[in-house]
């Protein structure tokens, strides 16, 4: 790593930490202003998530779907395509694997049944994220619009499947028949009751990081995203790489939906979009599309979310204030000009020092 890229890395880190700190401060000030008992509420927001092993466990549980959708958005973001279908994929793959699981029942042994469900979930994700990807590549459609329209359609499709194909009429709410016992993930880590999907998430992070940094496809993907002209000039198959990256991303979001159902639900009962896809965008932005940082960003977001949840249940603060904070974080981290002057100054300084050192060396030899 040369000095400039070292400076860039440091500034990037400082920038992200500052952005998160500012957003967090905004959250605290908001709570302070609108709450009747600000000290108590702020204490609950900051420390509440750590107040019991169960809550720490729920931070981790919430970070698991964020990790999957964050990884999904890393792929989209890496090739600079804002394919937001992850939102719909998460829901529809959860729905489809529930249907498959109900069909399978207890007929297959657990490992095989779970493997089948993962393949189905990932397949559904890949197919669906391919729709806006191909619409964009072949028909020049706007990918954000295409993927959001698709999400709306998928929500209705999932509700239709739930209502007409697997509804349990004996319960008082709209839910599917109970899922078979074999496929349910056990809870691990004692009192924290973390769902076993965490292991799948860890494996997914490692595999995606290998794909990004150690494999040819990952390299191609990053070149296509960072420098399309260079990629084209060096003969990389642009369209193939761009669509391929989106298919893999979609598959990972599909696995996320699968893990969520297997780990946390007795029945399929989603009747609205889960928002995990959009949270994935925030995670990917925070992690600067580096898959290894995705779990960190996911945990951070989950911590803030659980904090908001605690506050929501303890006081009269609606949980929605968090989305404003999320918007602020995305904007500040993505803003080039935010602390851009600071970065330039540091790079100039580093360059000047390097130059001075060179001159000194030249004088010595002379």
């Amino acid at each position: 790593m040369n000095r400039t890229s070292k400076v860039e890395f440091t500034v990037e880190l400082v920038r992200i930490v500052t952005a998160v700190a500012i957003a967090y401060a905004v959250a605290l000030i908001t709570l302070f202003v609108i709450s009747d008992d600000p000290v108590y509420i702020i204490q609950q927001f900051v420390l509440g998530p750590f107040s019991s092993p169960r809550r720490i466990g729920s931070i981790i549980n919430l970070a698991i779907p964020f990790t999957f959708t964050g990884l999904c958005m890393c792929f989209m973001y890496a090739v600079n395509k804002f394919n937001l279908s992850g939102e719909g994929i998460f829901m529809i793959s959860g729905c489809v694997i529930s249907m498959v699981a109900l069909k399978l029942g207890n007929s297959l042994p657990a490992p095989i049944a779970i493997a089948v469900l993962f393949v189905v979930g990932a397949g559904v994700g890949a197919i669906i994220s391919g729709i806006p990807a191909i619409m964009e590549a072949k028909f020049k459609a706007n990918i954000v619009v295409a993927s959001l329209m698709l999400n709306n359609i998928l929500v209705f499709l999932a509700i239709y499947l739930l209502k007409y194909k697997m509804r349990d009429n004996t319960i008082g709410f709209l839910g599917s028949l109970p899922l078979p016992e074999v496929i349910k993930f056990p809870a691990v880590f004692g009192k924290m009751r973390v769902q076993a999907g965490i292991f799948v998430a860890v494996i997914a992070v490692i595999l995606v990081a290998l794909l990004f940094y150690k494999m040819v496809f990952g390299y191609k993907m990053r070149v296509v995203g960072n420098n399309p002209q260079f990629a084209k000039a060096s003969g990389i198959n642009m369209m193939g790489t761009i669509i391929g990256a989106q298919l893999v991303g979609g598959a990972i979001a599909g696995m996320g939906g699968t893990v969520e159902i297997l780990g946390n639900y007795d029945r399929f009962q989603w009747t609205a979009s889960t928002q995990h896809g959009f949270d994935g965008l925030m995670v990917a932005v925070l992690a600067r599309k580096n898959p290894l940082l995705v779990p960190v960003a996911a945990l951070l977001l989950a911590y803030i979310r659980i904090g908001a949840d605690v506050v929501n249940s303890k006081g009269d603060i609606p949980i929605e204030f968090i989305t404003i904070i999320q918007g602020i974080v995305i904007l500040m981290v993505a803003a080039d000009e935010f602390m851009g002057g600071f970065k330039k100054k540091l790079i100039y300084k580093a360059a000047a020092e390097e130059l001075a050192a060179k001159e000194k060396a030249a004088q010595k030899t002379a």
């Binding site: 619409m135 359609i153 929605e320 803003a335």
Partner: protein, 309 residues
Amino acid sequence: MFTLEWIGNFGFSVLRLSTPLIYAGLAAVISAKAGMMNMALEGMMLVAALAGVVVSGMTGNLWIGLAAAILFGVITGGVIAFASISGKTDLYLTCIATNLAAAGGTVFAMYLLTGEKATTSAAIRAYTIPSITIPVIDKIPVIGPMISGHNLLTYVAFFSIWAVWFFLKRTRLGLRLRAVGENPTAASSVGISVKNIGYISFLLSGVLCGLAGAFMSMGWVSFFMKGMINGRGYIGLSASNIASANPAGAGIVAVFFGFTDALATSLKSGSSFPSEFIEMIPYASTMLAVVVIGIIRTNKARKVAKGGH
């Protein structure tokens, strides 16, 4: 089913449902002509819709509410312009972040103001922008009930198509805006401030989104409801894309999307078909229209490349 009365009513609801799409389409046209893709129409409309209801309820004056809706649309546009033009944030990300923040932020603001999380219908007194009966025309069968008796803002929407065309084609500022969109470097070399034009395009987009939001919460219905824009901003954006940012074309496509919306609404009542599929119609037809226009354009480009006509 297909009586004259039904046709008249159906035509009426097509025009009514087209109104927000026309505004959104025109807002997208203005940004597109300035060389930018405004994907935050959804969020801008949502903020404006809430602002209109709240301010008219608080002041007891409908027109102050309408002005507030427009003002908040403009402010949201200004925030996006500031972030993406002055802060050099990726425009896609800025718009997505704005939409996310608006979706949650409106619910948050609504809760703080009224204690409700779903709608303001119970808590805030409703004011609606008046409907206008056009004399003489309203007596004509079929056409009368179709085009008379609409909300004022529906007529303003159709007038805006002309106004946006006039602005873009017949005013100095419109010419500059198009120049920046076509070639920012060339435009800045003759002394046009690309930055200012970018701001102006988003602020004007904000005015149109403000009108759209006001129509949604003070015309279409008389209250604010969580997520009430429901993808209309994106459908409007598609209308502009399909029409290559031509105001009249965007208006026509918006009416077509209004037609699919009206079709879905009238199919839903009195049909045994699962309503979920009917709900998909507006979104599916948007996707389909985008693909069809894409195929037409690529074929045309291929012909041109071959040297044909």
